[in-house]
Symmetry: C2
Subunit: 178 residues, 2 copies
DNA sequence: ATCTTATATATGACTAAACATATATAAGAT
DNA sequence: ATCTTATATATGTTTAGTCATATATAAGAT
């Protein structure tokens, strides 16, 4: 499961709590290719602990709730390495908007243009979010090997969103000519 | 749920069995934006029948198993129309390959190039599959209103795959220069 | 004074989807 | 002769993911 491996990958860099994984990793740096619910993160951490891939230690705090800090084990590191070399399947595609568009012929052109424009707006918003992610570009002097691959995943998101926006604009132009 | 509405949408054109929906719709004309398991199609048909959106009649066959032919009801048609005007959420993105690439820095460049090339091959294959889908292009004299919107959903798949392939080629070139 | 936000973990309940398998018959291939 | 493929429907089980909610405290906002 990719979620488990994403968590292991993040814990390889530094020990973290479930809360930090959620707020600092899944809501930020990897949100553009993997989204995860808080409940699922905690339950996956439990499962990883059972499997011996992570271990936790309780950090008592006085003014705030106690933290359960997870660190990766040697077995966990080995598991990440093994998994990195496995072939990943293409993601299953399920696009609610395309289901709508497929059957859109029975609507008025004005209604179709409205739905295309709403979708365009959402993707422009998404693109803006990706652009705001602070990752050095490939030619930046601060670029490291690690950040290079993180940047590549961001480039994937950027180019996908751009392609989607171009396609939506073409669709709108096409319907306006109908 | 989009699956239920995709089924209703297909049944609007003609009554069909679960088997036909699977083999002639979900494996063919809409496979590029919605994939569905046989078990899920049958169970969704049951649910749609309970809700009164479809009804079935048993067609007895002698040399083959009996068919259960589903047709859409007036309530089902109304439901499709209502749903066509609802705003669809952007699909949640979960790309196993990007999780790998994000953490790929710890592999050798040759290993990384191999995984990028494997992924490229898979997407080129996917693009070829999309190109083989027999839908008239926008300027084709046989183009109808209905097919125009089906063609648009295919164009979305084609441009997405192309963007993905371009991105993968850039990544490979980049790693080769590292 | 009261409400919201941030910090932090946990569980119950549910839905969507995936995977396996059962049943039944005929045609065609090895 | 035996195996596979096509036709056709159905169910059991499991996994992944979502949504709601519980608990607890402090800081900051209205």
């Amino acid at each position: 499961m990719s979620l488990a491996h994403a968590i292991l990958g993040m814990l390889q860099k530094q020990p973290m709590t479930g809360y930090e994984l959620k707020t600092q990793c899944f809501d930020d740096s990897i949100a553009h290719f993997w989204q995860a619910d808080q409940a699922q993160i905690y339950r996956t951490l439990d499962k990883l602990a059972e499997q011996g891939f992570v271990e936790s230690r309780l950090e008592v705090q006085e003014d705030r709730p106690n933290r359960k800090v997870y660190s990766i084990t040697d077995a966990g590191r080995a598991e990440v390495h093994r998994w990195l070399l496995t072939e990943q399947p293409l993601p299953t595609i399920r696009e609610p908007f395309l289901v709508q568009l497929f059957f859109a012929g029975q609507l008025d052109n004005t209604q179709i243009i409205a739905m295309l424009e709403q979708q365009l707006k959402a993707h422009e918003q998404q693109l803006a979010t990706y652009r705001a992610i602070p990752l050095p570009s490939f030619d930046n002097p601060n670029m490291t090997r690690e950040l290079t691959f993180q940047r590549m995943t961001l480039e994937a998101g950027l180019s996908n969103e751009q392609a989607c926006i171009d396609w939506l604009r073409d669709c709108i132009a096409h319907v306006k000519r109908m």
